[in-house]
C-alpha cells in the first residue's frame, strides 16, 4: 500500500507542477512541454493498438492529420473551437471503425504497410479534393481573437488535458475486459476466439480508441499552428516519433508512453541545442542504444530499481 500511495502522490505532484508551469516558464519551454504532451498522446494511441493488441499501426498519423483537417475545416466554416475539437476524435474513430473492419484482417507487417498506404492515400485525397480543405496549397485558418500568448496557454492546457485523459483511458483499459481481450489476442487470436472473445470487434474498438486519441491531439495541433498542409498534417515522422517514445517508455504499460515522450522530447531538444548540425545523428544513435540495451522500456527498469517490499508475514 505505501508504495501505491507514494506512486499516486508522485503523480499528483507532477500534475500540479505541470498545471502551474505556465506561471513560471517562458514561451519556449511552454511550447516544448506542449509538444511533449501531444506526443505522449500519439504514443498512447499507438500503445493501445500496438502495445495491447499487437497490430503495428505505423501509419497511425493518418488520424492525426484527419483530426487536424476536421478542426481546420470546421473552424473555417465558422464552428466554435469546442465543437470542432469534439468532432475531431469522433471523425477519427468513425474512420478507424470503418477502415478497421477490412484492414484489421491483415496480420503482422501487412497491416503495418496497409496503414502507411492509408496515410499516403489520405494525403492524396486531401490534395485532390481541394475546395474547403485547401488542397495542396494548404488551409489558412481564420485568426482567432486570442493573443498569441493566450492561445499558447490554451493549447498547453488542452494538450495537458488530452494527455491526462489518454493515460486514464489506458489505465481503465488495462483493467477492463477489452484490455484483457486485446492482450490475449496479441499472442493467440485463435486461442482468444475459442475462449469467447470476438477478436474482430475487440481489434476494431482498440483501433477506434487509438484513432480517437490521435485525432484529438491532431485537432488541437491544427488549431495551434493555424495553417494546415497535407505534408505536415500527415507527416509519417509523427507516427515514428510516437512509436519510438512508446518503445522507449515501455509498451503495454500505462505510463510508459508518457515517460517515453518526456525523455525523448527533452533529450532531443537538448541535443538539438548543443549539436545543431548532427543532432539527428546523435539522437538516432541514442535511440538505437536505448532500444538495444533496454528493450523492455524505461518504465520496466525504473520499476526494478524500486525494491519490492514483501508483505509482513
Amino acid at each position: 500500500m505505501p508504495l501505491r500511495l507514494a506512486r499516486w502522490s508522485g503523480l499528483a505532484l507532477a500534475l500540479a507542477l505541470m498545471v502551474a508551469a505556465p506561471l513560471v516558464i517562458g514561451g519556449y519551454w511552454l511550447r516544448i512541454l506542449t509538444s511533449i504532451y501531444m506526443y505522449a498522446v500519439v504514443a498512447q494511441g499507438l500503445n493501445v493498438i500496438v502495445g495491447f493488441a499487437g497490430y503495428h499501426a505505423f501509419g497511425n498519423v493518418v488520424f492525426f492529420g484527419l483530426g487536424a483537417y476536421i478542426v481546420g475545416v470546421a473552424v473555417t466554416l465558422g464552428a466554435p473551437l469546442a465543437l470542432a475539437i469534439v468532432l475531431a476524435p469522433i471523425g477519427a474513430m468513425l474512420a478507424a471503425a470503418v477502415l478497421g473492419w477490412p484492414l484489421l484482417r491483415l496480420k503482422g507487417h501487412y497491416f503495418a504497410i496497409a496503414t502507411v498506404a492509408l496515410n499516403l492515400a489520405m494525403n492524396d485525397l486531401i490534395i485532390n479534393v481541394g475546395g474547403v480543405t485547401g488542397g495542396a496549397e494548404g488551409l489558412p485558418m481564420p485568426l482567432g481573437t486570442l493573443a498569441p500568448e493566450a492561445l499558447n496557454e490554451l493549447v498547453y492546457f488542452l494538450m495537458l488535458g488530452a494527455m491526462v485523459a489518454s493515460a486514464l483511458i489506458v489505465l481503465w483499459l488495462s483493467r477492463s475486459p477489452l484490455g484483457y481481450a486485446l492482450r490475449a489476442l496479441k499472442d493467440s487470436a485463435l486461442g482468444a476466439e475459442v475462449m469467447g472473445i470476438n477478436t474482430t470487434l475487440a481489434k476494431t474498438l482498440a483501433w477506434a480508441l487509438s484513432a480517437g486519441m490521435t485525432g484529438t491531439v491532431g485537432g488541437i495541433w491544427g488549431y495551434w499552428i493555424n495553417f494546415l498542409e497535407p505534408g505536415s498534417a500527415f507527416d509519417i515522422g509523427i507516427s515514428v516519433n510516437g512509436y519510438i517514445m512508446m518503445l522507449v517508455g515501455g509498451m503495454g504499460t500505462v505510463l510508459g508512453p508518457v515517460i517515453g515522450a518526456f525523455f525523448l522530447e527533452t533529450v532531443s531538444t537538448i541535443i538539438w541545442g548543443e549539436f545543431i548540425k548532427v543532432h539527428l545523428l546523435i539522437l538516432g544513435l541514442l535511440i538505437i542504444l536505448v532500444v538495444m540495451l533496454l528493450p523492455e522500456g524505461l518504465l520496466f527498469h525504473f520499476r526494478r530499481l524500486v525494491p519490492r517490499r514483501k508483505a509482513a508475514p
Binding site: S188, L190, G191, E193, G196, N198
Partner: protein, 255 residues
C-alpha cells in the same frame, strides 16, 4: 436428444478429403473418445465443432441449435470449450489472468476483474496449478501448460468440453492425474469429447469411442468393442497384423 450431433460432416482441403460424411452424436453426460491414426481427421473434427474451420458439407447442432458457420467466439459463448494440442497460452498475461479470460468472455460473461480472477483461481486449484498462478505461461513445463489449457476450458464453465491430446507428452503419473480429473469433471455433469493417442487414458476415461481413418468413421462402439474391432486393428496395425490377430484371437484376447 443428443447434446451435440454431427451429421454428414465433410471437409476438403483442395483435393484432399480431410473428413468425409462423418456423423456421430454425444449424449449429455457422456465422455466420447475420438481416436484414429495420424492424419485421420480428429483435430479437424474438433476444429469443425468449435467453428475454427467451417465444414464444406454437413451440419453440427448443439443443444438443439445449428452451430455450423458460427464464429468460434459465438460457439464458445453457447458453452463449448476446447483445448489445443499445440497449447495457445497468452504470454502477456499471468497464468491466473489466462484462466480469467475464460470466465470473462464465455457463457457467464463476468465483466468484473476480481471476480473473474477468483474463478480463475478456483479452476487452477482444480487442475493443481494454483502454485503457478502468478507466473508467466512461458515459465511452465509442458505438463503444466496442458494443465493451463484445461483450467482455461474449465473456467469457461462449458456444457461440452473438447480436449485435444491433453495427455500427449506427459508421464505416467501425470496421465493418471489428468484421467482422474477428467472423470471428476465428467461426474460433475460435463460432457466431454477427447482426442487422444494415449490408449490407456482413452480406455480408462471414455464411455464410447468413435474411430476415424482417412477422414471416415470406421467404428463407433464401447471401448471394449472398439479394441476387438477388426477394421480398427487393420487401420492401426495393417492387414497382416489383423490377419494374425484374428487367427490368435481365441487364445490371446485383448484385455
Amino acid at each position: 436428444m443428443a447434446l451435440l450431433e454431427a451429421a454428414g460432416i465433410g471437409l476438403r482441403f483442395g483435393g484432399v478429403a480431410a473428413l468425409a460424411d462423418v456423423s456421430f452424436a454425444v449424449e449429455q453426460g457422456e465422455v466420447l473418445g475420438l481416436i484414429g491414426p495420424n492424419g485421420a481427421g480428429k483435430t479437424t473434427m474438433l476444429n469443425v465443432i468449435s467453428g475454427v474451420l467451417p465444414p464444406s458439407a454437413g451440419r453440427v447442432s448443439f443443444a438443439g441449435a445449428i452451430i455450423t458457420g458460427m464464429r468460434p467466439h459465438r460457439i464458445a459463448k453457447l458453452g463449448i470449450a476446447r483445448t489445443f494440442q499445440i497449447v495457445q497460452p497468452f504470454g502477456q498475461l499471468t497464468v491466473r489472468e489466462n484462466v480469467a479470460i475464460g470466465a470473462m468472455f464465455s457463457r457467464r460473461r463476468i465483466p468484473h476483474r476480481d471476480e473473474a480472477l477468483a474463478r480463475a483461481q478456483a479452476a487452477l486449484e482444480r487442475v493443481g496449478l494454483s502454485a503457478r498462478a502468478e507466473h508467466s505461461p512461458r515459465q511452465l513445463t509442458l505438463a503444466e501448460r496442458k494443465q493451463l489449457e484445461l483450467a482455461r476450458a474449465l473456467a469457461m464453465e462449458p456444457k461440452l468440453m473438447l480436449l485435444d491430446e491433453v495427455m500427449a507428452g506427459l508421464n505416467q503419473a501425470e496421465v493418471g492425474r489428468i484421467v482422474a480429473l477428467i472423470r471428476e469433471i465428467n461426474q460433475a455433469g460435463l460432457t466431454i469429447i477427447m482426442v487422444e493417442h494415449v490408449m490407456k487414458a482413452i480406455m480408462a476415461a471414455c464411455h464410447r469411442i468413435v474411430v476415424l481413418h482417412f477422414g471416415r468413421k470406421i467404428a463407433d462402439d464401447t471401448p471394449e468393442g472398439v479394441v476387438g474391432n477388426a477394421e480398427v486393428i487393420r487401420a492401426y496395425l495393417g492387414d497382416r497384423f489383423a490377419e494374425r490377430h484374428r487367427s490368435r484371437r481365441g487364445i490371446d484376447a485383448p484385455r
